[in-house]
Symmetry: C3
Subunit: 208 residues, 3 copies
């Protein structure tokens, strides 16, 4: 499990950098940048823990998250102009983070005796709602509601985890199956610019 | 109480459709539509349960809410162009839902030993804050803060419930008195376009 | 401690007025004004209590907050055109409120056995996030993320409290040291229009 914890922190680092970049584009000051980096990185897990009554919530129970986020802000401050060229690395970290966050969220839900379907939702909340809170606090329509197959990748990966863990009792194999599903799905979706359908027409007529 | 539970689910269905319609107007994809339908329908009760520490919170403790919401999204997908002409039916369902949500919220507050005044607030939160969360997530100023006597109807109906239950000990009569007050008040307010006053002038002078 | 409780309520009154003024500028109706006054005044403490699982949360456990907020809204309704000329008094109340909210938040965190660093964060959340929720609900980018050294003053004051309480065992002296630090820092920052740095350049190059 130490590998998973390490990946969790790397994902947190990547999420925090993406938050810091969004905030600095919005002309936020250092405090604003830290807060946005913070909610982007731990907001999803925080919301999950509040919803399922898991106290102490993620960053209150483990200070390492705070240190990682502060390091990510310093890193962004120092290397801002160099991060864009690194964007493939960033995308990789970010996507691995999403995969791991999703399955950790599903596991936490199951540990709290939630129905598997609700646990699946918690995996998605963990991976996705940090970005939603970031967008609300920067006064934007959340990206994830109109672009990118991102949450769907989380739901499918979580489902792959749930199904495979019925048959495979070595804990780490379903974990890898689930997280890989998220990572592969997201990479394919971004590469081929896949999008979910929108409700523009219905079965019986077009809307203007 | 089965009738009330049925009305609760019908109200949830109507709220979810109204959320799905708002989200599809905003060009959200299927995932975004589901999330907005979801928070519109159960966001108020979810916030209430978090505030009063009632775990498991509404939709985590009863999966029927999720099924009803998903059905409402499918319904919207199939019949979008037909829903506008149905708007009187929608308004009816929506308004009945608000009435029932309000009184159920007040009752839940009282069951958690809250002061009646706080329980009243919880009735209003249950009925109204789903729409507030919907508006925040779609990046709009919450409708309810500047239009329609809606929350006031909830507060008055909740008050009618509280007062009448002091005198009438058959549970369902105060329930009907309270819910009807909400429904009638809201219908009158919408029909005659009543609005609450705004703070534009004060007793001593006008502001520009 | 009665003096502190009185200052807490005065700060709540000042925060509620500032919320009511923002809401009335946005053309909200009476209900909207009350809600915005409410979240501005108790939103920070409410978020803190949800994060650290301190139930009943602030305004549910002590109805005085609600009465103070409703009085503040009535006051704003009556004297709106007179409040602007009073703005020095308002600033004074507001700033004293921030100082007291911060230290009360830190103390509450420590009473819940949080790590001092997390308790410090809770002090900042208590003082600052009411304004953040106000700005989100009025569809604005939170002021505090791009203007004014405000949260930094809270963090420094909280730190002064934590450090001084290591050496001074009379409870009220570190309280005054901490709260005064917040008040003095904020006054200086506003007077000299100090701002935190923004991430525009980095060590290695400029960004456009």
């Amino acid at each position: 499990m130490n590998v998973i914890y390490a990946i969790d922190l790397i994902g947190t680092f990547a999420f925090a950098i993406s938050g810091a970049l969004v905030a600095s584009k919005k002309d936020f000051d250092l405090f604003g940048v830290i807060i946005i980096a913070f909610v982007t990185a731990v907001g999803g897990g925080m919301l999950r823990d509040i919803l399922i009554n898991a106290h102490p919530i993620n960053w209150i129970g483990d200070l390492n998250y705070i240190w990682v986020i502060l390091s990510a802000v310093v890193f962004t401050f120092l290397f801002k102009s160099k991060i864009a060229p690194l964007s493939k690395t960033m995308f990789l970290f970010d996507t691995i983070g999403i995969g791991v966050f999703t399955i950790l969220g599903v596991q936490k839900g199951l540990n709290f005796d939630l129905h598997p379907f609700v646990a699946l939702t918690m995996g998605m909340v963990s991976a996705v709602f940090g970005g939603v809170i970031r967008d609300v606090l920067t006064n934007q329509v959340p990206l994830i509601f109109h672009k990118e197959i991102y949450a769907s990748a989380c739901l499918l990966g979580g489902l792959a985890y749930l199904v495979s863990s019925q048959f495979i009792h070595l804990e780490w194999i379903p974990f890898i199956i689930g997280a890989s599903t998220v990572i592969i799905m997201r990479s394919i979706a971004v590469k081929y610019q896949l999008q979910l359908p929108k409700i523009k027409e219905d079965l019986f007529g077009k809307n203007k």
